[in-house]
């Protein structure tokens, strides 16, 4: 049984199950550098917000999978992930932690814990369930 590292809202159900190394993107410069590296297709992108502008060029240039730490399928990034058919797990939480995202009441430690645990891990996204998206270890 593969280890489920994190779970969150599944934006849309799909049999696509992309795998890659998680890359945490914290600033627009990270996004631009990743695109210019030519290695966008090797990574599952981990971001803090559920807005769409931050990831705009990455989505446009063919991101294969996205994990966010806030937001929902109705958020702009959720809508765009559906349109691009890019599997996306939103408001992901670590299965080994009790910390959860609460709107307007979540300190930085929550986001840092997730970024630290997932950045660099090789994973696969499972988005077959109607509601729950899963981040599965693929090391």
């Amino acid at each position: 049984m593969a280890e489920v590292l994190a779970e969150g809202y599944n934006v849309f159900d799909t049999s696509k199950s992309p795998s890659g190394t998680i890359r945490y993107l914290s600033a627009p410069a990270d996004v631009i550098n990743l695109i210019q590296s030519g290695k966008l297709g090797e990574h599952i992108l981990l971001v803090r917000g559920g807005t769409t502008t931050f990831l705009a060029p990455a989505l446009s240039m063919g991101a294969i999978g996205v994990i966010t730490m806030s937001g929902a399928p109705e958020s702009h990034l959720g809508i765009l992930s559906r349109e691009f058919q890019t599997p996306c797990v939103m408001t992901a939480h670590l299965t080994t932690s009790d910390s959860r995202y609460v709107v307007g009441n979540t300190d930085d430690a929550h986001f840092e814990e997730i970024a630290q645990a997932l950045d660099g891990r090789r994973v696969r996204l499972d988005c077959t369930d109607h509601e729950v998206g899963r981040v599965i270890a693929d090391d």
Binding site: P28, V31, G49, T51, T52, P57, S60, G71
Partner: protein
């Protein structure tokens, strides 16, 4: 399709009178109805809100009702309550998205809300007078029935009342700079303008899509037939299908970016049922708005003002259970993934906002690659340009996107945009709002207080019984 095999479409049941629709979320709404049964989302929520109204303003209303000069206090309060629920219904889950990392949206949003509430009333009053009264505003709404690529659409029209009045007043109440009995006359001005545009557009007596089980079927049948005749069949999984859906996504993304991560760049209408049982969604994607100075990169890429996509969905292919075209012009379905059920499509381009309909041109799906390249180029350039902007510029640019663009299409068609700029300083920042720039970052006002008041419904205080319809703000104490 992995999860719908053997299932049939049931979405038509949603249009039966007794049907309450599906629940798209587990949350419920209270607003000003403390102690009463919580209100749900969707069709059931609409029914509950209508049943709690004191007036008939949420039912189908007549042309005479719409032409009446002003709402009563009961009507204002019913609209206030309904819009507050409607805002919750379409935005409560979106609002979980947190910080952007790119654009300070909560900050620009709250400034725009308050600016609109202060500044729009005299501009809307002038516009109504310039077009000869209420009928002229209804005629502006009606233009959308025979056009594509027009921003006289659900999201812009809804924003007049839901954002300029509802959220603007809510924000100012939360900031404690106005009281519930202030600005009754100005509120009436904004809401009457909204009602007239929307009624003129729909012409079925309702004003909002949520009142009609989330349908926005505004186009005339002969106009729709011309659009449908251009549709090309698309086989799911084929390269042609991929080209169409990829273009849809990329253009939609740029429309978000050009409008600072807000929904004003996107406009869906429908669902229109076609003779073969398939559904048509018409989607406007505004990828180049000429009044935004940052849109110069879209000019450089050779992009038109708007691409319009005719999207044909086979409801049986996805076992469609419910489809909502909500009041911010966005389509949501259950099951959620409608992309694999797209079986046909067509693309059109409108070069400028005022390009005549006869000059709107179709683009073959096989020719979309060239346009996709332009969209991707503009997206990367606009992203790099935006990433270099400082926080203050980002906030005020975003503020302009809301404050200007939400009523821009109506002023353009009324011929009053230049007058608003020249005689009413439309692009200036009101001194009160300029000062609020410093207040909104204190004590989490923009990030926590306002979203909490707006999305819980707790901040939409009713107008006091017996308040004068002429009331403005008599004192600053």
């Amino acid at each position: 399709m992995t999860t719908t095999e053997g299932k049939r479409a049931t979405f038509k049941q949603r249009y039966e009178e007794a049907d309450d629709g599906l629940r798209f979320q587990d949350l419920t709404y209270t607003g000003n109805f403390v102690g009463m049964e919580p209100v749900t989302d969707g069709i059931k929520g609409d029914k509950m809100m209508k049943s709690r109204a004191k007036s008939k303003v949420l039912e189908k209303v007549s042309k005479e009702d719409v032409l009446r000069d002003e709402f009563t206090i009961d009507e204002l309060n019913d609209l206030n309550n309904y819009l507050a629920w409607n805002i919750w219904d379409v935005l409560v889950m979106r609002a979980t998205e947190g910080v952007s990392g790119m654009i300070p949206r909560q900050e620009y949003e709250i400034l725009a809300f308050m600016h609109e509430f202060y500044r729009w009333p005299e501009i809307l009053r002038m516009t109504t007078e310039e077009v000869g009264g209420g009928q002229g505003i209804m005629d502006i709404g009606a233009t959308a029935r025979r056009e594509i690529g027009t921003k006289v659409n659900a999201v812009h029209d809804w924003c007049i009342g839901a954002v300029g009045f509802g959220m603007g007043r809510c924000g100012l109440l939360a900031l404690e700079v106005i009281k519930a009995g202030d600005y009754v006359g100005e509120s009436n001005e904004i809401l009457k303008f909204m009602q007239r545009v929307l009624w003129g557009k729909r012409q079925d007596g309702y004003i909002l899509n949520s009142q009609d089980r989330y349908r926005c079927r505004i186009h005339e049948p002969d106009f729709l037939a011309q659009i449908a005749a251009q549709v090309e069949p698309l086989e799911p999984g084929s390269p042609k299908h991929g080209a169409f859906t990829q273009f849809n996504a990329a253009a939609e993304l740029l429309s978000f970016l050009d409008h600072y991560d807000c929904r004003l760049g996107l406009g869906d209408t429908g669902p229109y049922e076609l003779p073969d049982g398939n559904l048509l969604i018409l989607r406007d994607l505004f990828v180049n708005e000429e009044v935004f100075h940052w849109s110069d990169v879209c000019d450089d890429a050779g992009l038109p003002h708007c691409y319009t996509l005719a999207i044909i969905i086979d409801p049986e292919k996805m076992a469609l259970a419910e489809i909502r075209v909500n009041d911010i012009s966005t389509t949501f379905t259950r099951p959620k993934n409608y992309i694999e059920a797209i079986v046909g499509g067509a693309v059109f381009a409108r070069q400028k906002w005022n390009t005549p309909m006869g000059e709107v041109y179709p683009i073959k799906v096989d020719d979309l690659a060239e346009h996709l390249g332009k969209v991707q180029t503009a997206t990367l350039k606009l992203y790099q340009k935006t990433a270099r902007m400082n926080r203050r510029d980002l906030i005020w640019n975003g503020q302009y996107v809301y404050y200007i663009d939400m009523i821009l299409p109506h002023l353009r068609l009324a011929g009053t945009y230049d007058k608003a700029c020249r005689d009413y300083d439309f692009w200036e920042i009101d001194q009160r709002v300029a000062n609020y720039y410093y207040d909104i970052v204190k004590r989490g006002f923009a990030q926590e207080t306002v979203p909490s008041k707006i999305f819980s419904g707790a901040g939409y205080l009713p107008f006091p019984e017996g308040a004068s319809l002429r009331s403005s703000k008599g004192r600053w104490l």
